[in-house]
Symmetry: C2
Subunit: 294 residues, 2 copies
């Protein structure tokens, strides 16, 4: 398979689906929808949806079964970015090379656009739909909510804030990465597998893959903040260091971070053996992410 062609195809597939589930609106809520759409269509790489569709296919499903859940998870991811960028949080002016939501729409609308995207994700997952059985859809909602809430992403964000400027241990960094970013990537993979009709053994392999790969992706991301140029990254570089963020390179050093990412990635890939060719996209995508090109 040609990875670039595959990624472009999947990105377009997800892009059209997002346009369909989140159309513009007029009336008194036009401004809100505009703010929601601004960040959803601000050039995201669609990493989580792509991983979800790939996991769905790896277990023998058809990618279309995971398409709506993929849109929902991208909305959750986007809400988290909007809130993370707020002045009271990371106070970022740019994201993916364009002004952050609150810079364009103001803080109040940015907070509400985030709230509305999070809520819309759960509305989408619970809309009447013939693709997936009710029991499966409840399981998907539960995976998404657990990964996003206080025991997942939001908990990780709080731990990240509290760790800023502290003398942090590797355990703290692992906790933050596992919750703040790892939980949603793992959820994407699990939801893909569940949508594709995974049996318990398949779900277990995808879960172990996602735990290792998720941490590897985040270490790669930490390294990216140090090693890339502003042009490549589309946002300010070296910001993690300036803020004394708890990152892998800050605690373990750059070299050890590279070694650990490579090791975790190998562990992850090994989990995909039983899936054969069906997991080839998942293998290639994760290698590509680790090489910090996505």
């Amino acid at each position: 398979m040609d990875l670039q062609t595959y990624l472009r195809k999947q990105q377009q597939y997800i892009e059209s689906a997002l346009q369909e589930v989140l159309p513009p609106s007029d009336g008194p809520t036009a401004q809100l929808l505009k703010a929601m759409r601004y960040s959803v269509f601000a050039g995201g790489k669609r990493l989580r949806p792509i991983l979800m569709l790939a996991a769905c296919e790896a277990v023998g499903g058809n990618a279309s079964q995971a398409l709506k859940p993929a849109c929902a998870l991208e909305m959750i991811h986007t809400y988290s970015l909007i809130h993370d960028d707020l002045p009271a949080m990371d106070d970022d002016n740019f994201r993916r090379g364009v002004p952050t939501n609150h810079k364009v729409f103001g803080e109040a609308i940015a907070i509400l656009a985030g709230d509305a995207l999070l809520t819309e994700a759960f509305r989408l997952l619970s809309q009447p739909d013939q693709t997936l059985a009710a029991q499966v859809r409840l399981q998907i909602i539960n995976i998404a909510a657990t990964a996003s809430g206080w025991g997942g992403m939001v908990g990780g964000q709080v731990a990240d804030m509290l760790a800023e400027g502290q003398d942090n241990s590797i355990d703290t960094v692992n906790f933050i990465h596992k919750h703040k970013t790892g939980a949603l990537i793992l959820a994407a993979l699990q939801i893909g597998a569940v949508s594709g009709g995974a049996d318990p053994a398949q779900l277990k392999h995808i879960t172990t893959f996602g735990q290792s790969a998720g941490l590897a992706f985040q270490i790669a991301d930490d390294l990216l903040d140090i090693e890339s140029s502003q042009e490549q990254l589309g946002k300010d570089i070296g910001r993690d260091q300036q803020r004394g963020k708890a990152t892998y390179p800050a605690v373990a050093g750059v070299e050890e971070s590279h070694r650990r990412a490579t090791q975790l990635h190998a562990q992850a890939i090994a989990q995909l053996d039983s899936f054969g060719d069906a997991a080839e996209p998942l293998r290639q995508i994760s290698a590509y992410i680790i090489n910090r090109k996505l």
Copy 2:
């Protein structure tokens, strides 16, 4: 029935359930849970959960069937209050007589506590549970998400902000009330009915009841801001007027607002005729709210 005894009993019932579904936590997320619990247990009247249980009983169900959904909706209501109070929004220092969430925990944690409560509501609604069938639980999640998101509560909040200081029509005020507060009250009643196994005719009566009663409650609330003392209200009074908020009395006058609230309430109560004695709590609670004592 003695309404005071009934309300106390239901409040205690809901209080224990909330304590059970939202226990304190230690570890890195302790501060987040503390902030979430601070606002959930800040003396709320539990209006929406009480209405939900009453609607469940009105259609012939047992209140216990709606207990978890009632907790979930109270979490959604609480998140909306935390975010509404933020400096970028209404910038309120007190709520129910105690400092607002961001005054105690800071803005960042307040935003995240709101996010986590909203997410936790959907986690709770999707947790494995034998009380309600999967199809019913999906319907409940869909009602809650639709009422809370851009087409409901958040949309109403945006319309409310944009209307501030403007020369508003009664249509604008109706739109704001219907969405900002009415949608969640209607959702509480509908979820109660659905949890109690309502047939389509029963759900229709409860829906029409909720549409009229919800607006009546909000007009009563607008009047409360003008007519009560700070001590009664537990927050600053006259704030709506100071801000040029789009309220019923501001647009239609105080006298017309009283008349309209009474008329809507009568229309609402008429919808409950077919339920007989089972709807007595619902009748008495709404009369009590309209008389602005709850």
